[in-house]
């Protein structure tokens, strides 16, 4: 499935088509992130149940602490 992640088209093979699996694919599970799917912020508690589909535009922002 092709998904646009942070502005870049990526081909993803996910076990289940959920945001949680997508985060896992990027090793970001349990990290401090904000996710936007097709222009809408996804609340933390809905990350597990939100599905992703072909052509979705997903923005994943991870909070980092360095400087």
């Amino acid at each position: 499935m092709n998904i646009i992640i942070n502005g870049k088209e990526e081909q993803m093979a996910l076990q289940e088509p959920t945001l949680e699996q997508l985060l896992a694919a990027y090793s970001l599970q349990g990290k401090s992130v904000i996710i936007e799917a097709n222009g809408q912020i996804v609340p933390k508690e809905k990350i597990g149940s939100t599905t992703v589909k072909e052509g979705d535009r997903i923005e994943i922002v991870q909070f980092v602490g360095g400087g």
């Binding site: 870049k8 401090s32 936007e36 980092v64 360095g66 400087g67």
Partner: protein
């Protein structure tokens, strides 16, 4: 002769608007160095810079205000930065403070100096939550910026308008990735401060309509970029900016604190009460315990019990080659009681 700000004025289409503006930058590492130089060149009226560290050889790759001699002399970053930025623009009033920006120090600065803007040049989440609470309490905007590896992130926090940092991040994140583990390249720093600096120039010129209301993040190596609208994340029950805000990060507890410094393989030990140490006296205490001691007037370096340590006049100690906070605390108590 044209004014030194003529090109900036041409762009802004107004006469130099920054003369009476005061900015407080917390942290003078990679982000803080870059931000300080940008704002001093832009001609703000006053810059206050607070930092707890000294210049190390590994800083020179990206911390643009420092040179080899600063690292050789182990100058406190605030002092080395002051010298350099005053050379760049002698018309800016600079206040450089070598101290750990904790709740007490920063609250005092806010009370006494009432800066127009707070800029994040720190390397840890704890201080960012503290800056966030100060911003809310004193109604002063701040600009979050952070970077690691080849990625960076920035966000403008305006009290009473945007969600605050606590709304965005309800818990202190476990710092899985720091400059220690992932490294950092200079372009990631400069891109982060370009976003922070642009917003700073807008805010200080009063161009509120142009201020970015989105969380921006990027990776200059993987070639990705995101900008996310965050207004939906504002929480009415937020402990930092909600209806019953109680500013949880401003509460000082009176314990000896330790922190692992980003990118340094170093632990800082900070005693509870601010006390001023006499470095000469301290040197003789350490020498009696078999240490080889050197001092540069601002701080003291020593090798003792196979550890390289640095002691500042305010009683803080850095233990190098360690990521063990408990061990560092023990060493501190062993040496200084």
């Amino acid at each position: 002769m044209e004014s030194r700000y003529s090109r900036q004025e041409l762009f802004l289409k107004e006469a130099h608007p920054y003369t009476d503006k005061h900015v407080l930058i917390v942290g003078a590492g990679a982000l803080g160095s870059s931000l300080a130089e940008m704002l001093v060149r832009a001609g703000i009226g006053k810059l206050t810079l607070i930092d707890r560290d000294y210049v190390d050889w590994t800083n020179l790759q990206r911390q643009q205000l420092y040179k080899e001699q600063d690292a050789k002399e182990r100058l406190p970053k605030a002092e080395a930065a002051r010298t350099r930025i005053q050379e760049i623009n002698s018309g800016v009033e600079i206040s450089a403070i070598t101290a750990d920006g904790g709740p007490e120090e920063l609250s005092t600065l806010m009370e006494d100096q009432r800066p127009d803007l707070l800029l994040d040049g720190t390397d840890n989440f704890e201080t960012r939550f503290l800056i966030n609470d100060l911003s809310q309490k004193y109604n002063v905007p701040w600009i979050y910026g952070a970077c690691v590896g080849s990625q960076g992130i920035s966000c403008v926090i305006i009290p009473g308008e945007t969600p605050c940092f606590t709304c965005l991040l309800d818990v202190l994140p476990a710092e899985g990735m720091t400059c220690d583990t992932a490294g950092i390249i200079a372009p990631a720093v400069q891109m982060t401060t370009a976003f922070q600096g642009a917003e700073a120039l807008k805010i200080l010129a009063g161009r509120w309509g142009d201020v970015r209301r989105e969380l921006v993040s990027f990776d200059v190596w993987k070639n990705t970029y995101s900008s996310i609208k965050i207004e939906a994340l504002k929480k009415t029950n937020c402990p930092s900016c909600g209806e019953e805000a109680r500013y949880p990060y401003l509460t000082e507890d009176n314990r000896t604190k330790t922190a692992v410094l980003c990118g340094r393989n170093t632990v800082q030990v900070r005693p509870p009460n601010n006390r001023t140490f006499n470095l000469t006296e301290l040197a003789s205490i350490l020498e009696k315990q078999g240490a080889k001691v050197t001092t540069n007037g601002f701080l003291l370096s020593a090798v003792i019990l196979e550890k390289r340590i640095v002691l500042f006049q305010d009683g803080r100690m850095l233990v190098h080659g360690s990521k063990d906070p408990e061990g560092a605390k023990k060493l501190y108590q062993q040496l200084l009681g």
